[in-house]
Point group: none
Chain length 130, copies 4
DNA sequence: GTGGTCTAGACCACA
DNA sequence: GTGGTCTAGACCACA
């Protein structure tokens, strides 16, 4: 599931492009996997189907996915698969942001760890329920 | 120390305003504390002094700081001090982002916790060295 | 048309702010009227556009005007419209200054009246010519 | 009688210097005339006697007045006596200010003349009464 | 030293 | 075209 940031100023279609590319590069989406239909993803993200179509076209132009008429859109092998280090550094970058922010609002690193664990727990519970 | 995000599209002066406000509201900066001189913060953040001056003037207009010519700029008592819950939720928001991102690049929640701890350790070491 | 006093020690941007406020409060500028573009007024007053921009931003902050990017800056309804008495007293204050000065340089009140009439005539002629 | 402008930012002693010089240059004060005693002028203007003393010293340094111990301070012949044109232009300058201001607050030139006449009348009445 | 104002000129977002 | 932000650098008032 993608997550869009309305505040960022980055066009929605580009956010979709970037995130799908990252999911493929990281291995979260395996080559051959079918991507959600344009209309389905549009509904999920509450976007206009044209926006998703534009994203898929861009992804195809870049060779990241392959659209087959009547069949759907499929992930291709990533040109630049992410190494484990890549995948961790993507996450680390955001964690650093959280740590810096924590420092600014006088939340100790230990508390940050506690918060993170709590969030993970909550997420697991949600999944079980759903 | 503030951290600027060039990508965000938010004007630098506003980023400074927001972060100083948060530092004061959260208690990380105590009323009466002197803020860095305009030129010093400009040098640290690699910005033009005018940009910091604009930020400080906006902060003064909002009653968050008090600038005295020839003396410096000082934090005032925050109108809306953050509660502990506020302070945690600010951090949690960013941690959620990191978790979502982790899922997209197929990094497990456990790994995220490990990464976070490692980052905190590294930070502590840096401080000791410096 | 505004007139700036370089001697006064009052920052130019503040002089612009004060004069525009007075023009709006007095009814000389009607709500909805478009103010000159930042660059135009800067050229007319031989000031840097930044200085006018700063004045307009201050005016917007005070709710006196509304700036719309790409469109222009427009007068809003004054919060404290001037009464006729206000408008006269503003002028009277300056006339008193002229009378006091006249006394100091031994120019009689009658001469002051004559001077004033002459200045008005000259002004009318200028307008006709232009 | 001098008139001080607290807003102007010009030091009081300098305002006194300037106005006395103008009074002498314009002929409003004739060479040989005695200026008010330091303490008298200080009382009238609600200033510290030191401020007036400083002004008189500056005037003497410039050769505009002559202070004789035990006697008082006296006007000397002006180095640059004002011509009639000078005297009128000093007043005209202020009248132009009033006219520009009038235009800004939508007061017609005719009204300005009326206001001026009224102010002169009022002044005359005050004098008679006093 | 401190903050405040200003010029000169660039680039951006929006319409 | 419009206003908004920013750099680079100067000069000022105040302490």
């Amino acid at each position: 599931m993608l997550n869009l940031d309305e505040q960022s100023g980055v066009p929605f279609y580009l956010q979709v492009v970037q995130q799908v590319k990252r999911q493929i590069a990281s291995g979260a989406i395996v080559p051959g996997d079918q991507l959600p239909a344009v209309r389905d993803m549009a509904r999920d993200l509450v976007l206009n189907p044209n926006t998703i179509a534009k994203a898929y076209q861009e992804l195809e132009r870049e060779g990241v996915v392959e659209s087959r008429r009547g069949l759907g859109t499929f992930a291709r092998a990533p040109l630049m698969p992410m190494t484990d280090a890549d995948r961790r550094s993507v996450v680390s970058e955001l964690l650093v942001k959280a740590l810096v922010e924590a420092e600014q609002v006088a939340v100790s690193p230990e508390e940050v760890v506690t918060l993170l664990k709590k969030l993970i727990e909550e997420k697991n519970e949600q999944r079980i329920i759903v």
